[in-house]
Symmetry: C2
Subunit: 354 residues, 2 copies
Amino acid sequence: MFNIPTVTNQFGHLIIDKINQKTKPLGALGQLEQCAIQLVTLFSQKVASEDAFKTFAPAINKPTLLVFAGDHGVAAQGVSIAPSDVTSQMVANFVSGGAAINVFCQQLGWQLEVIDCGILHPVTAPSVHNCRLGSITKPLNTDMAMNTAQVLQGFNNAKQLVQQLSHSGCNTIAFGEMGIGNTTSAAAIMAAMLNLPAQQCVGKGTGVSDDIVTRKITVVEQALVLHQLHLADPISLLAALGGFEIVHITGAMLAAAEQGIAVVVDGFICSAAAMAAININPAVKDYLIFAHCSNEQGHRLMLNALDVKPLLQLDLRLGEGTGAALSLPLLQAALGFYNQMASFADAGVEQVVS
Amino acid sequence: MFNIPTVTNQFGHLIIDKINQKTKPLGALGQLEQCAIQLVTLFSQKVASEDAFKTFAPAINKPTLLVFAGDHGVAAQGVSIAPSDVTSQMVANFVSGGAAINVFCQQLGWQLEVIDCGILHPVTAPSVHNCRLGSITKPLNTDMAMNTAQVLQGFNNAKQLVQQLSHSGCNTIAFGEMGIGNTTSAAAIMAAMLNLPAQQCVGKGTGVSDDIVTRKITVVEQALVLHQLHLADPISLLAALGGFEIVHITGAMLAAAEQGIAVVVDGFICSAAAMAAININPAVKDYLIFAHCSNEQGHRLMLNALDVKPLLQLDLRLGEGTGAALSLPLLQAALGFYNQMASFADAGVEQVVS
């Protein structure tokens, strides 16, 4: 379903040479250097020759942040402090510009798009993309959350959305989510994919009590037992344990990679979707930039399993794509130093190599 | 010499109430919430009443990044990979706009000012502030790096510079430095102030070999023994172990606090200067925002000793104020969510408190 070009390293030596000639000690820009290498590599995939590469100035174009919203039947099982109604209320808040993600996108230059993947009370507003797969998933500890046709429909919706963005010139997409109960779904996906006990994957979400954590662990354990025959294939795994927003995010990440778009991954839920995407097509991984390590206890474990180091660790536990949004200036700084810093020769600075 | 107003918490409950009414779970913006509390508290010190506070919109005005440069006699003792000449070459690079700090300041909206506190080869350019205390310090392991009159002159220079910025409306100053050999000076200051063995304070600087690290440790140990009678008083400690740029930074931090200006602290060297400033007048600490935990091994130890948690950990080890520069969007995001996010009541979102 997704034909992702393998990222080639054709200009790798030129990229590293250029970075190492900048007026700074070798490696002194730390993670920004790794970020620059990844972004320049991605954005130069279609550059035809070394000569063309030498005048190529990579840039982030039309950065777009997609917030996917969906409701979760499991929320009624006592795994969250907030009722499912809050998902729709927060979507309305996104539409009227009052949420954290609105403030950060406006400040930092992201175009924000809100996608209703299936929330309890649809928000009537022309700016909300309608990708509804239902109004709420079934509780994952008693049923399949959805059927596989819904998963594939979600992938298809996401692909269309991403293709439109790609045609408009966007080369960087960040992902966020809203969905009461979705840390339970993400924890279940993580436990299934990494073959870990529920206890290591479940955390406090947006701030639940210890009693609710215990309940979440039980719910995830029930789901893992119930669906044990459906967990080997990632599509049926997503149908069993996923959420409407999570399957859209998974599909959109795969579709973005297919278009050569850099994918900025937010917190715990988006990382679970990223893990699912990698499971479906491992070629997606080179397109992923991990923005933030959240406070959610399983997130660090998941990032370690993916062998990635996120750019920020700000103890955010809000979702919405807030961590991804806040990473944009760092991505721009990475390309900024790559494009604009003087070399030792340009600046007349002695190059000392230890 | 510095009359720093004690930061009062007069609107503390209003600030926290306002943050807790925002449409997000309690505490879900993590470190940004702490950052907002600190900035709003600082910027509202002169607000006269609770009524006035309710319409007060705190903002970062004319953010200015000061890069102080100075040369260190100790560089000739084999503690650095680069010769002292490189300090002046990099100052010339700052003037012509080719360094990392130029790129980041331009991208993010900092006004950049370069101050020659005493470098080997003065750079003739009208944009460089002349605060020269000499052309290079004496090696700290064989002599006092400077005399106390030079320290006080540095404080005075810094105070004038900061007062001018304050009068122009600047309320946020970040600090950076350039000086071959200055991690050795900063490590010696740290060892003396925290009463730690040199080995725990010395690191690889911008990337020296293990042999050079061993040499740095020896040099710091020699300095601590030589100056043991001068280490109780922070002014004579700075004269013994400091650098021309370090004493200016210390003075400028104190002067900024005196003016009610928020101080953004960069890496290892600036943190050592901050520690000296706190030693001179503990009231400065409430004005300090720690931007980045660098890769320099003593830095984390120093930040722990100061009981502060920096906003970024990007493995930078460049200095110049690069870590501080990169933190500006986070400071703006902190004030952005504080000023602009909707409350539960505004947005019609159910407030659920766990």
